[in-house]
Homo-oligomer: 190 residues x 2
DNA sequence: TTGAAAAGTTACAGTTCTGTCACTTAGATA
DNA sequence: TATCTAAGTGACAGAACTGTAACTTTTCAA
């Protein structure tokens, strides 16, 4: 009925991710993407009205995938095991942190609402709600300090991934030390 | 001998800061700045060749100011007091975190070297070296865990400022809890 | 008072990106 | 094989930003 497509959504999103991480939201252009995909710029406009819609769709795709992997946590028993899984996951997927930042950037600069804007807004909330149940488990098990705000606990854990490792401390040592600080702090116990 | 200037560097940098924090490096333009300063765009080009040079000069100004405030730490006696001062300072100057990010952005995207590029590169290093001596003090006093990498300790402390307080936990409770987690961790002691 | 010098403006050319439209191409089906 | 339809292209106009050059304005000092 119609001509064969030169690319699919998976290939497209793969390049979008590379470009976003390399150039950021503002540096990303349809020309850049079209060159990478080896199609004309106009071809991309057949599928997405503008950059905002394209990146939004991509973000939703990435965040849903991450959320899906996050929910693997439930397969682990008890807080301690889930904690280890969580830290390992966010260090395996460090890009997600940058992508969420970019997502918030879209929501801030976009004036008019559009198709998937609402969906993009809801995803971080869903993620937050899921992690809050994890925090609650920790508190109920008596493993997490009760008086600390849930949002700070969650934020702290997610933020660690953004600490720049300028001096190239070996990955394993780094992650081990992060877990240590989050759990037991950096002060000596007396 | 010459005509009176319509603006000075202090006023200029004040507006640059506002615009940078609101629009980010990419969103910042000479037109935007000229409007704010109520001068013509071309007038700005009398003082700065381009955006890169302008923002670089501004960054150096801001980072030197911050470094100066940071060095007030030395007036406090012992690690514990210096730690409290440091946390309070970085929460008083949360913007500096975003500005340093922007500075790194410049260094990444700029191809050719220019006047103050080197100076901009050196400032974070100077800051790092200063904080490292603080970490050393903590380790020597037996207050900080010896086996944790210095760069992680420093990164951890600086990064806390970027944790988003989405649910508007009161400032004092927030900062108190941050200090608690950094020092003693979020796990219950058994 | 007049003219040198710095401050400031206007206007232009060049670049890059955006969004659209008329067009061509390729594959399925009738 | 004719033709319908979706895929893809090239080319255009409009917008925004950049950097510069020629010009005007203001001030002070000789």
């Amino acid at each position: 009925m119609a001509r064969e497509r030169k690319f699919n959504t998976v290939e497209l999103f793969h390049e979008v991710k590379q470009l976003l991480l390399q150039y950021g939201y503002d540096g990303f252009t349809f020309s850049l993407l079209a060159d990478r995909m080896e199609v004309s710029r106009a071809a991309l406009y057949k599928y997405y009205d503008n950059k905002e819609e394209l990146i939004t769709d991509f973000m939703i795709f990435e965040m849903e995938e991450f959320l899906h992997e996050l929910k693997e946590m439930e397969k682990y028993d008890g807080f301690a095991q889930q904690f280890d899984f969580l830290i390992d996951l966010i260090f395996k997927k460090t890009e997600i942190h940058h992508l969420i930042k970019a997502a918030q950037h879209i929501l801030i600069i976009s004036e008019h609402s559009f198709e998937n804007k609402e969906k993009l807004q809801k995803l971080p909330l869903e993620m937050y709600k899921f992690l809050q149940s994890f925090v609650l488990l920790g508190k109920n098990e008596g493993k997490l300090k009760n008086h600390l705000p849930d949002s700070l606990i969650i934020g702290f854990i997610l933020q660690t991934v953004a600490i720049p490792n300028h001096f190239a401390v070996p990955r394993d040592e780094w992650i081990y030390s992060v877990k240590e600080i989050i759990g037991k702090g950096m002060f000596m116990n007396r």
